[in-house]
């Protein structure tokens, strides 16, 4: 049974709460649910992190292997990000190749890591045009409790921070930590009843006309954004989310992700 039709009286209740400045789980509008991060949980991976954000559970695994660079960027390593919305994680997910939501999540997370230059890709080049390190970021969603994108972003950077370059396995010198030099963090807001709420729960996500993600770096600069959903945002709302996202990302970074 998928619960795609929400009872009208429940929608009204959530709407009226927001008008009163409240959320169903008692959080402030700019407050995240509890976050836990456990690294090193997938022992066959070069790096991994199990992230919980409220009820959402995501396991991110990093695999690294030598390979050829892309022809247009012969002197830098490669990042490949993939999201699996496995049918285990929600009654609404089906088995099969990734659908547009999974691809969107992977691409937004990828963008944050790539554009922030969090990974020093030049250091991942071994022989120009021939041999570079390929980094696979695999985002495995185990339980969809809402706001997968932020949990995936937090999980990905946490996993990367715990990653070792497996040089010994391939006879390419000594193992070393993956060179990570920035910590991009995605923060997602929804617009509902004219208000902006960070870290939407599953139910709030269903109510939202639009979902807006802003990825900020350690110095406060922005390295990625995504607006998703049909409802428009005003310029003022966009600017408010940028402010809120920067503050929230800094808190998350300070609490969980310092190198």
């Amino acid at each position: 049974m998928s619960d795609d039709v929400m009872a009208e009286i429940h929608r009204d209740y959530l709407f009226n709460l927001i008008l009163k400045g409240e959320r169903d789980d008692g959080r402030a509008f700019d407050e995240f649910r509890d976050i836990t991060i456990e690294t090193g949980v997938a022992g066959m991976a070069e790096g991994s992190a199990l992230v919980t954000l409220g009820d959402t559970q995501i396991l991110v695994g990093i695999k690294i292997q030598p390979g050829e660079p892309f022809p247009d960027t012969p002197d830098v390593g490669v990042i490949i990000t993939n999201t699996e919305l496995i049918p285990m994680a929600s009654p609404d997910y089906e088995a099969g190749p990734p659908r547009e939501t999974a691809i969107e999540i992977a691409r937004v997370v990828d963008r944050g890591i790539r554009e922030s230059k969090a990974i020093d890709l030049e250091k991942l080049c071994m022989v120009k045009g021939e041999k570079v390190w390929i980094i696979f970021i695999d985002i495995h969603v185990l339980n969809n409790g809402g706001n997968i994108i932020d949990a995936a972003s937090i999980g990905s950077i946490a996993a990367l921070l715990s990653t070792t370059l497996p040089a010994e396995r391939y006879g390419l010198g000594e193992d070393s930590p993956l060179p990570v030099r920035d910590i991009p963090v995605a923060v997602t807001a929804i617009e509902f009843g004219g208000e902006l709420l960070l870290d939407p729960s599953l139910e709030e996500g269903k109510l939202a006309g639009t979902v807006y993600t802003v990825i900020t770096n350690s110095d406060g600069s922005i390295s990625g954004m995504q607006k998703s959903g049909a409802e428009p945002l005003t310029i003022d709302q966009v600017m408010r989310v940028v402010e809120m996202a920067g503050t929230a990302a800094a808190k998350i970074r300070e609490k969980f992700l310092e190198v």
Partner: protein, 233 residues
């Protein structure tokens, strides 16, 4: 009453005549078919499951959500693997099939009754009984349907306790959905209490514990009011 946890396959009796719900007969033994609490009655031994879906039975009262308005039928989610069908003729008064959505639209909640279930699990609903109606206010909370008997209590004792202690209006659907109406505070407390019952459904002495739970809540509510009065002074 002694309540032991049993798992599927556990032998619960050697008298096959005692096989009740949640059990099956294997040779000359009665075995548990579900993971749950063993319930030894005078005539039957049954296992009360700790989880599971609502399977509709005729004359069950349930809370449904309209998911589709089809030709002369509303399709109703009844928190079950099987959808319910509400035929236009089962609406309390005669209406025209042209504008069914004017009376019940997608997302509307109804307090309905299972009129019949056939062998192919076609579930027919009705609104043409006393108490049955459209729910246009209040809130709905969903719990595991297997915990429903504890929320109702023996001969309705638990539900009466909740209504009188909290002072709200409640209707408990067999399908795990509970409708609650009253002031915002009462609804919040009622939902907390229902969740408490759900979490403690497998434990003995539940009524006493719910009373203690409500008493403690009442104290904190009273405490808050008292404090704010002090502030004013």
């Amino acid at each position: 009453m002694e309540r032991n946890i049993v798992i599927p396959g556990d032998v619960v009796s050697d008298n096959v005549k005692m096989s009740g719900s949640g059990t099956y007969v294997h040779g000359d033994e009665v075995r548990a078919s579900v993971y749950g609490l063993l319930n030894i009655g005078e005539r039957y031994i049954s296992v009360i499951p700790l989880a599971g879906k609502y399977i509709p039975h005729a004359s069950d009262r349930v809370i449904g959500i309209i998911t589709e308005v089809a030709y002369s039928n509303w399709i109703v989610d009844i928190n079950s693997p099987y959808d319910g069908l509400l035929h236009i003729s089962q609406y309390p008064r005669r209406i025209d099939s042209e504008n069914m959505s004017r009376y019940l639209k997608v997302g509307d909640c109804i307090l309905t009754m299972i009129a019949s279930v056939d062998a192919g699990m076609k579930v027919e609903l009705t609104l043409r009984e006393k108490e049955l109606r459209v729910l246009s206010d209040g809130r709905i909370v969903t719990i595991n349907p297997t915990k429903m008997p504890r929320v109702i209590g023996r001969n309705g004792s638990m539900i009466r306790l909740l209504k009188s202690e909290i002072g709200c209006n409640m209707f408990v659907g067999q399908n795990g959905r509970i409708w609650i109406n009253g002031s915002d505070d009462c609804i919040d407390l009622a939902i907390q209490t229902v969740r408490y019952i759900e979490d403690n459904a497998h434990t003995p002495g539940l009524t006493e514990r719910v009373q203690a739970f409500l008493k403690a809540k009442e104290k904190t509510r009273y405490g808050k009011v008292h404090e704010s009065r002090n502030d004013e002074e």
